[in-house]
């Protein structure tokens, strides 16, 4: 864990777990979301972002209660719309660090379209989807990631609709950073947070986070101490070795799609990363050009000139 460096906030306040702890979580004991939260604390402790510049936002769901449990500026918005809300924050306040949290229902069902459009526009923010393959808060209905056969209250004889493939959806969306992690792997989550955070643009991390109440054991297949396998993506080192051939190049979209198609439980790590101008930058360029045209005039002068043309 790194100690505070030049990044330390001017006030000298150090981000510790204690400082970062908000309300006591209302999650069920054993819920995977606790670990996702713990990893977030640890990531923040490592990064030492100025405290007041951190914003945690969410929609509605168990996972979406996240902002209450982190002592930073936060927003608990409405179901499925946390991303467009975050877009407003990010685009109007480039000085902030915006993190959005939510569940599979919030992000892939009601909010699925906002995800696609925020991604293609490459708005600068980090989005964490705590995927438990079920609607937790409303107590066990089928979610768009529930596998076929999953018995929920809305599919008492087992789900029949083909679930989405989250990685495929995220890749197709145009997101410039796409990763996958597991709530049983705190170190891995911290690393994904770190890389997502340092990525400029729209970064998204899906974290498999078990709902012990309504879908216990859902992700055991990727938990070593439950006879599962947690397979991490090995990334290319570009070291010219033959082993490197087989390693994954995160800038290769097709390769990323291939990883997304691996059989359950698949692999974990960074599937895809690329650089593209962010919408924040593009809008800033627009503004700069516009400002040049008005040549340092004050707001008052600009509007007065406009009115002069309407006389």
């Amino acid at each position: 864990m790194s100690t505070a460096t030049a990044d330390t906030p001017p006030s000298g306040e150090k981000l510790t777990r204690k400082v970062l702890t908000g309300d006591h979580p209302t999650w069920c004991p054993g819920c995977g979301d606790f670990a996702v939260l713990a990893a977030f604390y640890r990531f923040l402790e490592q990064e030492q972002i100025p405290h007041e510049k951190i914003v945690t936002l969410a929609g509605i769901g168990c996972s979406s209660r996240f902002p209450y449990f982190v002592n930073t500026h936060g927003g608990h918005y409405i179901h499925g719309r946390s991303l467009p809300f975050a877009v407003g924050v990010s685009l109007s306040r480039d000085d902030l660090h915006v993190f959005v949290f939510g569940g599979d229902g919030d992000g892939f069902s009601i909010g699925g379209n906002h995800l696609d459009h925020t991604a293609r526009k490459n708005v600068n923010l980090t989005y964490v989807i705590m995927d438990n393959f079920v609607y937790g808060l409303t107590k066990k209905q089928t979610s768009p990631t529930s596998p076929i056969g999953f018995k929920s209250k809305t599919d008492p004889t087992g789900a029949i609709d083909q679930p989405i493939n989250p990685m495929k959806k995220l890749l197709a969306s145009g997101a410039t950073f796409v990763a996958r992690s597991h709530a049983a792997q705190v170190k891995h989550m911290v690393e994904m947070y770190r890389r997502a955070y340092h990525h400029k643009g729209f970064s998204v991390v899906e974290i498999l986070s078990e709902c012990v109440e309504f879908y216990p054991g859902a992700f055991d297949a990727a938990v070593p101490r439950k006879q599962g396998q947690f397979i991490e993506i090995e990334e290319k080192k570009h070291d010219g070795t033959p082993e490197d051939e087989k390693r994954h190049d995160p800038s290769d979209e097709e390769a990323a799609f291939r990883l997304a198609h691996l059989e359950w439980p698949g692999v974990f790590g960074v599937f895809y990363e690329t650089q593209r101008l962010t919408k924040n930058e593009l809008e800033a360029q627009l503004n700069q050009r516009a400002r040049e045209r008005v040549k340092g005039k004050s707001d008052l002068e600009i509007l007065r000139d406009t009115f002069a043309k309407m006389r």
Binding site: G74, L96, D116, R311
Partner: protein
Amino acid sequence: MVSSDRSSQPISGAALQKEVLKDAVIRLAGNSQDGIQTIGGFLARLAGRTAQEVMTYMTIPSTISGGPSIFQVRMGTGEVLSAGDSADFLVAFYQHSLESHIDSLRERGVLIYDSDHVKPDLSDKRFIYFGVPITGLTIEAVGGSAREKGKNMFVLGLLARMFNLQIDKLRQLIQERFASKGESVLRNALLAFDAGFAYPADSVLKRYYYFEKEKDEDGRVQITMDGNQALAYGLIAAGVRYGAGYPITPWTSIMEILRSELPKYGGTFVQCEDELAAISTALGAAYAGHTAVTGSSGPGLSLKMEALGWAVMAEIPLIIVNIQRGGPSTGMPTNVEQSDLLQAIYGSHGDAPRVVIAPENVEGCFYCAIEAARIAREFSVPVIILSDQSLATRIEAFPEPDLEKLMITPQLDLAPRGADFKPYPLDGPTRHAPPGARIDGKYPTVTGLEHDEHGHPSANPAIHMRMTARRREKLKKLAASLPRPEIYGDQEGDVLLVGWGSTWGPIREAVRRLRAEDKLVGHVHLRHLHPLPNGLERLFTRFRQVFVVEMNDEGLYGFGQLATLLRGRYAYQSIRSITKTDGLPYKVREILEGVRRLSADHVSTFSLYPNL
């Protein structure tokens, strides 16, 4: 209309009769492709520049490829209150234009028609006929290749001569408009204009027209624009720098202006994937500390109702513009209606009090934007501006606003907050801390759940009671700060007409005519619809009858939307409704008829059993 005989310079002196007008209603009827909007716009702008009053009215064709369309300008030196019930001059480009609009021409009105296309029934002696081979002369002037493209400029020249308009100013307007389109376009436009002006309209008609006199210059220059422009620039003056929207007629032009203009001011307007995202993005910017705007028309407003409720609950300021059109559903997208009022007030689930205001004319659009921003900030509440399709597209001139006084350059308040920081103190105004502000102690999570003074979620019964009251009481406080509207006309008497929004002009004109008949009639126009200003009961009780004039349906119980609200508040049997649902602006005549009908039907007013 009688003239003052202030002397003037006719174009050609000889033997022409000079007819002095207080104002004139000119209807241009053609296809939307003919650029009749352009002529109308020039006339309106000219009127503005010469300190005349002006008001326009237009229809939009319902096919995408354009089609029959009109543009009506009323200009003059008296107070122009409406675009006019009937036209004094009708310019018909085609036979179908003639046929559809001849009924709107008043008796003894002048029909100007393109004699290359139109054959009027000259035996109908109600009108004065003035045929001009507009098409032919335009082609001749501009050259065959340009086809019929300059007809609108030709007609503008023609009108300039007939009305003795200031042609230097008109030529300048043409210059301003076409300069950027390339030299040949500009040259053609001027060629056509000159040809029209050269046509000896006055000698054919044996008269020319002259507007009574220019208004006394009060030193204030006029600017001319449509309601959507006024609203957009009002938002900018009010310090709004961020917004988000999704296109829909007739809201779209506001977002187009903001998208172009805001970057100059360092701001951003985002076109979102839909209206749900649009209001959310705007709320994100508001949460981040800005005064932000979103907007739409009917269908889009419906989609914003959930997020609007969040803004009420979280007490986040926001401006929501709604340009009303004919409903329900997709309805009549290019017609006018005032049927979103109750939705604006009650359209979200739960008790979700928000502010609703409505501009009464183009100038009002500008000032409503400024007021909306002020209220949103001061009371940390969403404010809905209800404009409508007719205001959005109507051009008017009004005194240039005093920007030195009005202009707000927004500032983010990132001052640190102390340990006693409470966003929702029970005994004071909302005090949000935008992200970026340091907080000693707990950072707030702004939420749509019920919450305590610290913004912390709570399902405690007492807290929900207190917070519900808090959201209500702050609007009552706003109400208490609102000026009680003045009555125009008689201060007590027979009939008080109450209106809101774009019906202001026709109602006022109706009041004038009724008073001219020695009736004791007043007019109150409400800009603040929710909360209503206090003290209206003192106005209402001075009249035997209170008729609320609106462009919406009479509803199940015989009352329009504002009338329903007023009755709900005051429970006065004297409050009744004049409504209509034809998708067109009120004609003064329709209001007069309504007043007569209701006055005759007096008995029912005080019956205990209405609407059996």
